[in-house]
């Protein structure tokens, strides 16, 4: 999870090598909450363009079970 900081810079603009990819769920996981919800760019500092790409990638990853649609924090599925 990306926490609040004073100056927010888009992670993907900072590092152009890093493409938004649905297969890279380890990166995507930083942009969803514990419950699996997509974190708004307002919080993460992602730029509009990359946030659009991220949203799409997260939804694709959910479709193929790389990321959860939702996760019940009180009842861990193990």
């Amino acid at each position: 999870m990306v926490l609040l900081s004073k100056r927010k810079i888009c992670k993907f603009c900072e590092n152009p090598e890093e493409k938004v990819d649905y297969k890279n769920y380890k990166v995507l996981r930083r942009f969803v909450t514990e419950q699996g919800k997509i974190i708004p760019s307002r919080i993460t500092g992602t730029c509009a363009r990359h946030q659009r790409e991220l949203t799409k990638a997260i939804k694709r990853a959910r479709n193929i079970a790389l990321l959860p649609y939702s996760y019940d924090v009180t009842q861990s599925y193990k």
């Binding site: 649905y22 297969k23 694709r60 959910r62 479709n63 193929i64 079970a65 790389l66 959860p68 649609y69």
Partner: protein, 113 residues
């Protein structure tokens, strides 16, 4: 020419032999639909983010291919849907040609032999 990739999840309980055969069958199906395979990556068994058909684990296989056949994706997905061993799949159109890694496309079969 269009470039595609398909990521599919295989039932983790099938035997290694059948698993290899299934991957071969998918490759053959893409070939039949006039696609040519560029890369094949076997990610192996992973835990699913949520259970699919009561399975908590699944084996992920990524295939990248190219084709000029517009109807390929529709037919391939129809075929995958009928296949009992496949739990889930996703097909994505790639913006650019993926770099071909010959070692990876050969590795899954070599490892199985």
């Amino acid at each position: 020419m269009r470039y595609y990739e398909n990521l599919f999840v295989v039932n983790p309980n099938i035997e290694q032999e059948k698993y290899t055969l299934l991957i071969q069958a998918v490759k053959a199906e893409i070939g039949r639909l006039k696609g040519s395979i560029l890369n094949l990556e076997d990610w192996g068994k992973r835990r699913l983010a949520y259970p699919i058909k009561k399975h908590r684990y699944g084996s992920y296989v990524l295939i990248q291919f190219e084709s000029e056949n517009i109807g390929l994706v529709r037919e391939l997905e129809a075929w995958l849907r009928l296949n009992q061993g496949i739990l889930a799949f996703i097909t994505v159109v790639l913006d650019e040609k993926p770099s071909v890694q010959p070692s990876q496309s050969v590795a899954p079969q070599a490892a199985a032999e």
